[in-house]
Amino acid sequence: MTAFAVPTSWIFWAQEQAVELDRGLAVRWGLWLVVGFLAVFPGIVAYMVLLERKAAARFQDRIGPNRVGPLGLLQPIADALKLLTKEDLVPRGADALVHLAAPVLVIVSAFLMLAVIPFAVGMAPVDLPSGVLYLIAASSLSPLGVFLAGWSSRNKYSLLGAMRAVAQLVSYEIPQVLSVIPIVLWGGGLSLVAIFDKQADYGWFIASPPGLLAFLILLVASIAELNRAPFDIPEAESEIVAGFHTEYSGMRFSLFFLAEYLSVFAVGCLATALFLGGGMPIPFARFPLNLLDGSLARLVVVDLILLAVFAAKVFSFVLLMIWIRATLLRLRVDRLMNFAWKYLTPLAIVNILVAGIWYECVIRPGALTLGRWLGGTLVTGPMVAGLVWLAFWVNRREWAGEAAGPGRPSLEGARPDWETPGQTGASPQRAH
């Protein structure tokens, strides 16, 4: 059988992430799976829904849910029970298996994203050396789920929503991925734990002009990836009912709902770990990490500080998303695509080079000093400001009509989104 022996180097697909399976590891993995992923994260997400309802209500001068339990705190449980007792409907003509697989896929995507987040020292579920790449792979599963949901429902609203969703998701995935590359560059690797350690030495990555730009690109692209307002054309209630999940009700619908909020949470964790220094409370200080001396008691204290700060940052990020949703109007579809391809993508591409310059100015020379940080900021700051200005200047014609005053958007050459077999070829003339 020696002829069929597999050389060890063939296992490089898994990067030979060998670990010793002992009792400690089994307990740790078991705790993460059962307590973390099946209890704590869904619990956090259930209360994020309540938070969003409460906060959105306050933005609209309402009170929000306050009937079930004190301050409405039992509302998530009541909602879960209600949805659990709803009839499980699959529309006639739908592809039943795919109809079921779609919400599962979306949930899986959100869960997998959380697997590499370093919440505190020694508190990442796993530390993969391919962490960032893995995150991108996991997060790009959800467009697939969304599309399958819309396609399998055999409903015109759903299909329209799914097509819009996929067009939007793939467009915003490019700037999202590109905005993470400066972090990989500075972190010196794809492992999120290494990136966290690097931020302890060189300050939060957001505290640099290219880092700030990358963070803003990631923020916008993530909101678009999550189909949240102002990027919610795929599920625009007022025109296509609910888009890809029109035909989902009861528990299947709530899976989509849960996955959306789980993704919001995951993106909050991602932004915190990549840009906001993880659980570090002060941008340029090693503060809780310098307390570590190898003893377990110190580690527990440090981890508690890190966890609390991490939670606070994720909470702020989620609040920011709720705030944006409550404030901004839905974008028109051509503006939406323009924004991804004509603003964010070129900006993110050039920003990688600015990030390289920042690396040469600040990180390559050695330990972080105020002088180096100021020098780097003076060099890259004007570049970033100039780039943003240039992006808007190149696209100035788009806004020219807008400045002239409110008018009807130009629908010249506009055609309906789909073609029925009879009307292919020549575009139908629009009756005015």
């Binding site: 898994a14 030979e16 992430q17 060998a18 670990v19 010793e20 399976l21 993995w29 799976l33 992923f37 099946l38 949805l83 659990l84 007792t85 709803k86 009839e87 499980d88 409907l89 529309p91 006639r92 599962v104 869960f111 997998l112 697997a115 579920p125 796993v126 530390d127 790449l133 429902s153 055999r154 409903n155 015109k156 067009a167 793939v170 467009s171 995935e173 490019i174 991925v177 590109l178 990989v184 560059l185 010196g188 690797g189 029109t246 035909e247 528990m251 709530s254 899976l255 695509m337 323009n338 391809w341 993508t345 591409i349 990688i352 080079l353 040469e360 309906p416 789909w418 073609e419 077999p421």
Partner: protein
């Protein structure tokens, strides 16, 4: 026993699928089931659905998908460069300027061709 870190991802995958399927199964057990022809119609604001649903879509969607594939693959080349940049030195930055220049050129070409216009 020596195992692989990626096994955790596999376990998590199974846990996530179970997490998604369990409530659907529970709902199967406790939710009411009253089928009717009207109820299983696709929802179209109360009007019976007309014509075929799975129709041909405009080319615009596919062009953007094509653009996505091009850029996503090119993005993949950036990751090894970024991860190994520390040991590559300034020359790698110059090389990347050239590479990203090509990437931008592709974008500018698509832009000038009007591919990025959504109509």
């Amino acid at each position: 026993m020596i195992i692989n870190n990626y096994i955790f991802i596999g376990l998590l995958l199974l846990a996530a699928i179970a997490f998604a399927l369990a409530p659907i199964l529970v709902a199967r057990l406790i939710a009411p089931r009253k089928r009717s022809r009207t109820k299983s119609e696709p929802y179209e604001c109360g009007v019976l659905t007309l014509g075929e649903t799975w129709v041909r879509f405009r080319i615009q969607y596919y062009i953007f998908a094509l653009m996505f594939v091009v850029f996503d693959v090119e993005t993949l080349f950036l990751f090894p460069w970024a991860a190994g940049y520390a040991s590559l030195g300034l020359f790698a930055l110059v090389e990347m300027v050239v590479f990203l220049g090509f990437l931008l050129l592709g974008l500018v070409y698509a832009w000038a061709k009007g591919v990025l216009r959504w109509v």
